[in-house]
Structures are given as structure tokens and as C-alpha cells.
Symmetry: C2
Subunit: 196 residues, 2 copies
DNA sequence: CAATTGTACATAACACTGTTATATTAAATA
DNA sequence: TATTTAATATAACAGTGTTATGTACAATTG
């Protein structure tokens, strides 16, 4: 990647991390990177190109968060650790999280390349959550299962960003989430347990 | 409410229903309502005021969706019907749904009045989901329980709006959701069942 | 009734957004 | 050396939400 291109991208990342989408204007990125506004268009596909890069960054963060060494852990332990990692990522990179889940700019739609990265991330999630299922489970079941856990996870994160979250005085939001998910995982394990 | 004020609000609602947030500019609302742009500021608090009204409309739709006659139904049946109603509302009023969950305009923040309506809606949800719990359950438990089901629900809706939703060829998204929620409800019922 | 006040309105402007046409400069190739 | 290509700078365009200014009409008051 070009050095100017990298400079633009890192400027965008910094502004995004500091102030979210509101701080990301074409002119502010250009100024921070020390280039002219037109540079955003010659090096990237305008603002959409910048957002695509951040979108991809976001899903790479998701993948990193749910993958790790799995030695000597039960399936439930592995999935619960992935869940912890997911929540930690959502807290540490709220801007990226909001972007990849459409809570930033309704005008932005990810490019095909960006969507491909998103699907790869979902593939990673399927692999992790499939540990809860019998080994001979088919793809449809694995997808259903991954979606189930992802929806539960994402629902907690998304609602935490919501105004109603303030009605909970206790700040143990993600503890409640992990409890509920643990219960759900037990239900999944019980449902598909191999009758021996 | 003033007749002009109603005309503005209904113009805004129509534009919003037809084209979502993208179709909602101060000038387009004014034109549709047959008033000057400044009218949006004299009758409402500018665009923020308009969005507040639509936000409140959205949560009223949520409340309507999860409330109905409950005669001769088990707790599980009532909650499952509320869940069906919730999904139906999210499909029929996607624009409102996206608005109240921050997927429309990141610059918009609901007013205190709008937030109060949101909390009332959450109260309704607590009342419905509390049917799954023992009658002597305390408020913290009821809140935890309502959040649990709401997160699961909302997660499915939010992910359906996401680009990754296209990896599921089968269009039975909400059937999968209802299945998963039914299983979770059973787990809740089992956990808090009165030992007799 | 006449005078004053206050409200609703229209026009225009401001500061901002993403994007692009035009012109200029520097670099690389023939 | 001459020509072509790439990167840059300036300015402009069409939008956005918002506001200042000026005007017309209605209501209230002396």
C-alpha cells in the first residue's frame, strides 16, 4: 500500500476512534493526513472507500475477539470465552461496532469486498459455535445455531447502546448477558446431546 | 394540536414511511406540508423535534404490538404471541424500528420526553415477560428477564437488517427466531419453576 | 376605533457536508 | 528533450440543518 494511502487511512482511524462517525468528514481526514481533500478520492473511493476500510477493520476485530487457543477446554468454555471476547471488543471499539452494524451512517452500504469479509467473520463464528453441536450436524443447523447465539450477543450490545439502558442502575450489563447466554448454551447442549 | 402542526407531522410520517430517514429533509417536509421551511422550526423544534415525534410513534407501535387480550392463554403462549407481534411490527414499520434503535441518524438523540415513552414501553415488556416468572419475583429479576428476551428479539431483527443476512438462502428468518425463543422460554420456565 | 404587540411567514444567507470540474505542477516515460 | 501520466490545489456545485432579517396578518390593549 502507498505511503500516502496509509497516512490517510491511519488519520481516518484515529479520528474515528476518537470521535466516531461524527468526526469523520472528508475534509477533516484530509487535513489530519496532510493531503488535499481530492486525495481522498484519488487514493480511495471517496468517503465510501474510507468507510469500507474501517468496516473491514471492524470485522477483523470481531474475528480476533472470538478466536484463540482452545486446548483443554470444553465446548461450553470455548464458546463462553468467545462471548467474553466479543463483548470486550464491542466495548473497546464502539465506533467500529456501530459502523459494521449500521448504527453509524444509514447512507453507507458496504462494498462487495467488505461484505465478503463480513461473511468470513460469520464463518468463523459458525466454526466456534458448531462445537456445541454433534459432529455430524449439517450446515443449515450450524448456521441456525450461530445465528441464534449471535443474535443474542448482538442484542445485548445493541441495547446497551440504547437510551433505555439507563434504567438499569447496576452496571453489570454484560454479566447478565453472560448468565443468560450460559443458560441458553446449556439448553442447546441438552437438546442435541447424543442419546447414549 | 394545531392544524398546521398536524399537517407537518403527517407529511413527515408519509415521507418517512415511503423513503425512510433519507427522504426526511427539513425542506422536503415543508414542501410536502405546504409550509415554509421556517415552519418546521416555529411548530416543532426543527428536525430534532420531528424525529422525536416519530421516535415516540415508534415506541407506541412497539407497545401496541406486544399487548392484546390474554384470556385463556398460558404464560408461554402470551409471550410467544407478543414475540410474533414484535417481529410483525419490525417488518411493517422498518423505518420507525431503525429510528428507535439508532440505525437511522447517529446525530439524533431522543429528548427526555421521548426517552420517557421508551421507558414506558420497556415497562410494558417487563409486565408481559414477568408472566414467565414466579409471582413474588422482585423488580431486578423482572428487569433481567425482560432484557434477556428483548435482547434476543432485537438481535434477530437487527441482524436481519444486516448485509450478512443474505447468506441465509431460506427466508424463514423469523421462524428460526421464534423456535430459538421458544426454547429459551422453556429454559426460563424450568429454571424458576416452583418446586412442588 | 387606533395603536401596539405578537405570531406566522417568506426570503435569503451561513456553515457545513460529499463530490467534481478545472487548472497547475511534478514526475516518469518515449 | 518532448510527451504523457499522475498528483495536487483551487474553486465550485448541490445538498444538509439552522438562523437572521424583513414583511404581512391577527390579536390585544389604551
Amino acid at each position: 500500500m502507498n505511503i500516502t494511502k496509509r497516512k490517510i487511512l491511519s488519520a481516518a482511524s484515529e479520528l474515528f476512534l476518537a470521535g466516531g462517525i461524527a468526526a469523520l468528514s472528508v475534509r477533516s481526514i484530509a487535513k489530519e493526513a496532510g493531503v488535499s481533500t481530492i486525495g481522498i478520492y484519488s487514493h480511495f473511493n471517496g468517503k465510501e472507500g474510507i468507510l469500507d476500510e474501517l468496516y473491514i477493520q471492524g470485522f477483523e476485530l470481531v474475528m480476533q475477539a472470538i478466536q484463540f487457543e482452545q486446548e483443554k477446554l470444553t465446548a461450553k468454555q470455548i464458546v463462553l470465552r468467545a462471548i467474553k471476547g466479543y463483548f470486550a471488543m464491542a466495548e473497546a471499539h464502539e465506533g467500529h461496532y456501530r459502523l459494521i452494524f449500521g448504527e453509524s451512517d444509514s447512507r453507507y452500504a458496504p462494498s462487495d469486498e467488505a461484505k465478503a469479509v463480513a461473511e468470513t467473520a460469520f464463518g468463523t463464528l459458525i466454526k466456534v459455535t458448531a462445537l456445541l453441536l454433534p459432529q455430524d450436524a449439517n450446515l443449515a443447523l450450524k448456521q441456525k445455531n450461530a445465528l441464534e447465539i449471535w443474535a443474542f450477543l448482538h442484542g445485548y450490545v445493541s441495547l446497551k447502546h440504547h437510551a433505555v439502558a439507563s434504567v438499569f442502575q447496576t452496571p453489570n450489563w454484560y454479566s447478565l448477558a453472560e448468565e443468560a447466554l450460559a443458560m441458553h448454551i446449556d439448553a442447546i447442549l441438552a437438546k442435541y446431546a447424543v442419546q447414549s
